[in-house]
Symmetry: C2
């Protein structure tokens, strides 16, 4: 089984190492060896790990997808414009594809499943969500007969590392981010992690598979973790919560037009909930279904070797399917409808710094009242230099009302600074 | 797709309900409806749930396996002698088989995989281990290329319920057992749960798949939870542990003759470990591999609907394979070698009631010393009526030494009663 690799960064070179170290085991179990026949990289000249056979390198992915001896293409290019072209060409050329490209898949999953169906080949992408955790196959196969209602996951290791440090070391965001950078948990430009778009891409992929609907990254409402403060953690701790960035996908009903809600947001999670115990760069995903109840999958969400392990699982299944002239079921995706912000109901915490003078609370409360937001609890955290920090905890209210109230609150002259709000996870 | 059901207890009738409720969804996703064509039960005359079509009932499983219209047999008979005959006949007759029968599979897995291979049909058994948790498929497919080193799981809901009650309500074993019975978590005869043999069967199945070796229930060294006392929990709590019945399967090395160790025992688990937080009848399984690191699967380990959900996932995959004339890879199982008790190294706690008189500690210590067992910590729990309870915590020692020392200790006239020992989980 000759495979071609496009992209040879951390995951790609780990895959090559894994195939070298476990080659005999795999050949034994599969009945034939897996051989890497060609590796396309951006720069074939730059130094590489010693175990990369330089004679396999090429600067052109087209050489890989057009090589007739290659039956299976592993695409690990990352979020570059050519990635989708490489996958399309490979499928069109009758090759099966294994990809870890959450950015591309979260935009083009439905099209690629269709292309694979027409080519009678597979497109697998276990590594695109939650790294080494075998969640995608569980959704595609094991839970295929299950009517799933909700998926809640911690699927971004960088932000979870930062939030864990803020929780445990009681430091501010900037300090936690800088230690994430130092330890290699955050990239030079961590924007797509911090603003929730990486998690949103994974949420879109999970929702597509779980509910059989077309969900792209653009359909995911998202808020990142910028602006989360040590004060927010103080408040959370005092109330028995911690703060986690959650990717949530929900399906309300079974009818073809029943709506979905797919979101990424930082939430207050009860400390006793298993998600609260998911530390550092680990990932965990809860899946709720009508018959099975609640399942959880936990494991390393990133890292070269765990991700390469997920890629390898896909490679083996795709290879088996090629040899037995079969393929995995296409996940048919119907059109999706989404909840609008006035239909998303939740409890929120919202905090702000206000002038420490009489009548302020009344004016703030008036704004909440005006949008029909009922307050369950209020806390005054500290007073310093005539400024008090207030935290409000709402009863169940519409996201829309909360957002509109926030805009009004920001305009009040007694509000010095409006901090970010958090969803309360239940 | 016409399927035959053998056995229609809790899981079977849940499966029938699930196929009724989700029939349209399944037909839509699969491209054809799944129809239950025949149901074999012990007593076709006894009253059944209203949704069971009585015209499908027969008293003979042979009628199901010999029905040429049936392509797939779901075996849910439980641990009865005929179950293996029913599965053999179904496979021999060219039908694929889905079974939840951990007892039968833990004895005959290797033979049944071979039979299925010869018949070019599938035998699937997701529901045999950890109920609704999709662990088996992860081991068979996703982690097929992974060199797994260890599996540690809580795979028996009855004993975990009892231990959770002892931990949280601080009651004795008998009281916890009786509340398990009242709430339906323990059967009328819970022997196979309490003595660890149910967990041992599951450990054998997990070890077979994870390591590709022939492991049967008889190869599993096991200790149950009888005799675990409130005093044991007191000692555990004071030291930051809880007590869990663990199924452990380990592989020491990669060579064909490298040994396995497959065991079931009650262990002291650090309260901070995720396994300590697995409550009541839930199941959780940790899987450790060379590339992926550590994964955890968590969910409902029993119950009609979750188990039926796992069966349904298998039915769907087997049906897909029948339609596309393919089948899952057979898991080849080589001969296994097992560690002997002198090579199983662990830390243990061992407790006993002794006469509260001078020189007793010296005599007990002498026994430990005689077997080369070094003590890390000793605690005296209470003294009552001239009897003191001692708990010893050993350094790493051989299981064999501990067992032989226990026999000696029991013979000492100053030892009133030797309690059970616990493994310390690390």
């Amino acid at each position: 089984m000759r495979i071609g690799l496009i992209g040879c960064g951390t995951v790609g070179s780990s895959l090559v190492a894994l195939l070298r170290d476990e080659g005999d085991l795999l050949a034994d179990r599969l009945g034939e060896p897996i051989e890497i026949a060609r590796i396309a990289v951006r720069d074939p000249e730059r130094p590489r790990e010693g175990w990369i056979d330089r004679s396999l390198l090429t600067g052109s992915w087209r050489e890989v997808v057009s090589d007739p001896a290659i039956e299976l293409v592993v695409e690990l290019m990352g979020d570059v414009p050519e990635a989708i072209d490489a996958i399309r060409s490979a499928l069109a050329g009758g090759k099966s594809v294994v990809s870890a490209n959450k950015a591309v898949l979260s935009r083009h999953l439905s099209e690629l499943e269709e292309l694979a169906g027409r080519a009678e080949r597979d497109i697998f992408f276990e590594a695109a969500v939650a790294g080494g955790v075998p969640l995608i196959r569980a959704l595609r196969v094991s839970l295929f007969g299950e009517r799933l209602s909700r998926i809640v996951g911690i699927v971004n290791g960088t932000t979870n590392f930062i939030l864990t440090r803020m929780q445990e070391d009681e430091v501010e965001f900037e300090e936690a981010l800088s230690s994430a950078r130092k330890l290699g948990y955050a990239e030079a430009d961590p924007t797509s992690d911090l603003d929730g778009s990486d998690a949103a891409a994974k949420a879109a992929i999970m929702a597509s598979l779980a509910f059989g609907r077309k969900v792209t990254a653009a359909d995911v409402r998202r808020t990142g973790i910028e602006g989360v403060s040590a004060g927010d953690f103080l408040f959370a701790k005092r109330n028995g919560w911690t703060i986690k960035l959650l990717a949530v996908a929900e399906h309300f009903g079974a009818a073809p037009d029943s709506p979905l809600n797919v979101e990424v947001f930082p939430a207050l999670v009860p400390s006793s909930h298993p998600l609260a115990g998911v530390r550092d760069s680990f990932n965990a995903v809860f899946v709720e279904g009508n018959a099975v109840g609640e399942l959880m999958f936990f494991g390393p969400g990133a890292g070269g070797m765990p991700t390469a392990s997920a890629v390898l699982g896909d490679v083996i299944e795709a290879a088996h399917n090629l040899r037995t002239a079969t393929r995995a079921r296409v996940v048919i995706q119907e059109q999706a409808h989404f909840l609008t912000a006035d239909a998303i109901l939740a409890r929120f915490s919202i905090s702000m710094e206000v002038l420490d003078e009489p009548g302020v609370l009344a004016r703030v409360s008036e704004v909440f009242g005006g949008f029909g937001i009922s307050i369950a609890r209020m806390e005054q955290l500290e007073v310093e230099d005539g400024v008090a920090r207030l935290v409000f905890l709402t009863h169940r209210t519409a996201l829309d009302s909360l957002e509109r109230a926030s805009l009004e609150l920001e305009k009040l002259d007694v509000v010095v600074r409006l901090h970010r709000s958090f969803r309360v996870f239940t």
